[in-house]
């Protein structure tokens, strides 16, 4: 499933992602497109609390794609966000 929240600012990218996760069919992943940098912190935080792992990829200047996948077992939101922080390159 794809969710385009470009143009939205906090808290809406996160709220609409949580909403979409509720409607996501089992075994499917959710792709979220955002152009709001603070959402790179809020979306992974909420997603990991719901058992989703998140990959972040910079698409172009000021635009990122987040891929959310269901994982086995509980996730530690702090560790998840820290890992994304390590990977995300704001300098592109």
């Amino acid at each position: 499933m794809k969710l385009d929240v470009r143009g939205e600012i906090c808290p809406y990218p996160m709220m609409r992602t949580v909403d979409a996760l509720g409607k996501l069919p089992p075994n499917e992943e959710l792709e979220v497109l955002t152009d709001h940098a603070p959402a790179l912190a809020t979306i992974p935080w909420e997603a990991s609390k719901r058992g989703y792992a998140v990959d972040v990829e910079k698409v172009r200047s000021g635009e990122w794609k987040l891929t959310l996948r269901k994982t086995q077992g509980p996730l530690d939101p702090i560790a998840v966000v820290q890992e994304i922080t390590q990977k995300t390159n704001m300098g592109g």
Binding site: A37, W45, G62, E63, P77, V81, M90
Partner: protein, 340 residues
């Protein structure tokens, strides 16, 4: 949602930390005798207008998605919604100018003015404010750990070993202009900037200049608020009836914020024209902006002039405005949750 999301990725703790340093440094600026206020400090009476202005501002900044300085730098980063919010701010400032004399008569002219050095001495005032900020710092720390997510930093690509001069030069460039600054470094820079601004002219503030723009724009439509009573008695981000000019500190500060944010986002390759797709978001920006403009107009400043610059000025008005902000932000966050 957390307040920190509204003031950027640095985290809410920057605010007390920066206020603390500005307070510390303000002691180095020569002060006149104890009998009167130091010139150009942001201290004014504790009128209901300060609290109500803070409340309206708090609601507005959450609904619009950023405070007034936030609106300016987001314009620089390409947020179209922030341009709409700026329109609202100018409208609200005009409303504040039109109703200012009522606020002056019924609130400001009767309210007590409390400058802490009068009653506690400079040292006593300084220690009290620093202690209060320390408590606030710990409270925010505790609140963030409990409610919000962890502080996120963007460290950029893993650094290669720094061997040559070129490696080091590039790393320094990246640290300064590409990656986000650590919260503590940004807080220190902001505080030093505010103290410098105070030493040379007056503390930082962005709304006085904007009120000049608003007054000029609405003057073209034939709307003149007339004489504003009492504003010559203190020096905050007072409403003015004309922009002071292009080569002034306030004009350069406001326009510089936009260009600075533009430059920073381009260097971090993060600039993009961001266009909201729902009509509701434009309405939110316009309404939130109007509330912020009106609130900052009657309270003599925004989160910068009436709060960030007011608390180190050692008056109580900055704290009263802050209390209003807190309440308003809470109400605002209840509103935006229902507007998904």
């Amino acid at each position: 949602m957390s307040v920190s999301a509204h003031i950027g990725p640095l985290g809410a703790r920057v605010v007390p930390a920066a206020l603390g340093l500005a307070t510390l440094m303000a002691r180095m600026v020569p002060d006149p005798s104890m009998g009167e206020l130091a010139p150009k400090i942001h201290v004014w009476p504790l009128g209901a207008n300060v609290l109500i202005g803070g409340l309206l501002f708090g609601v507005g900044m959450v609904v619009a998605g950023g405070c007034i300085s936030g609106t300016l730098w987001r314009i620089g980063e390409g947020y179209v919604g922030s341009l709409v919010a700026l329109g609202g701010i100018l409208l609200g400032l005009e409303g504040a100018a039109l109703s200012w004399n009522w606020w002056w008569e019924n609130s400001m002219s009767r309210a007590p003015l409390i400058w802490l050095p009068h009653s506690l001495g400079h040292m006593g005032a300084w220690i009290s404010v620093m202690a209060a900020l320390a408590v606030l710092y710990l409270l925010t720390y505790w609140w963030e750990a409990r409610r919000a997510g962890p502080e996120v930093r963007f460290p950029g690509q893993p650094q290669p070993p720094l061997v040559t001069f070129e490696d080091r030069r590039l790393a320094l460039w990246n640290r300064l202009f590409v990656q986000a600054w650590p919260a503590s470094a940004a807080a220190v820079a902001l505080s030093l900037l505010n103290v410098t601004a105070f030493a040379f002219d007056h503390p930082l503030g962005v709304t006085g200049e904007l009120s000049g723009w608003s007054s000029r724009a609405f003057g073209l439509l034939g709307l003149y608020p007339g004489r504003l009573e009492g504003l010559d008695q203190f020096s905050g981000c007072n409403l003015v009836d004309a922009p002071p000019g292009l080569l002034t500190n306030t004009f350069m500060l406001d326009v510089g914020l936009v260009f600075g944010a533009f430059a920073a986002s381009v260097m971090a390759s993060e600039f993009k024209i961001r266009v909201p797709r729902q009509l509701l978001r434009y309405l939110q920006s316009a309404m939130g902006g109007t509330l912020m403009g009106y609130g900052s107009g009657i309270a003599l400043g925004c989160t910068i002039g009436a709060f960030f610059s007011a608390i180190p000025s050692l008056g109580l008005n900055g704290w009263l405005f802050g209390l209003g902000l807190l309440g308003g932000a809470f109400v605002g966050s209840q509103i935006i949750r229902r507007l998904a």
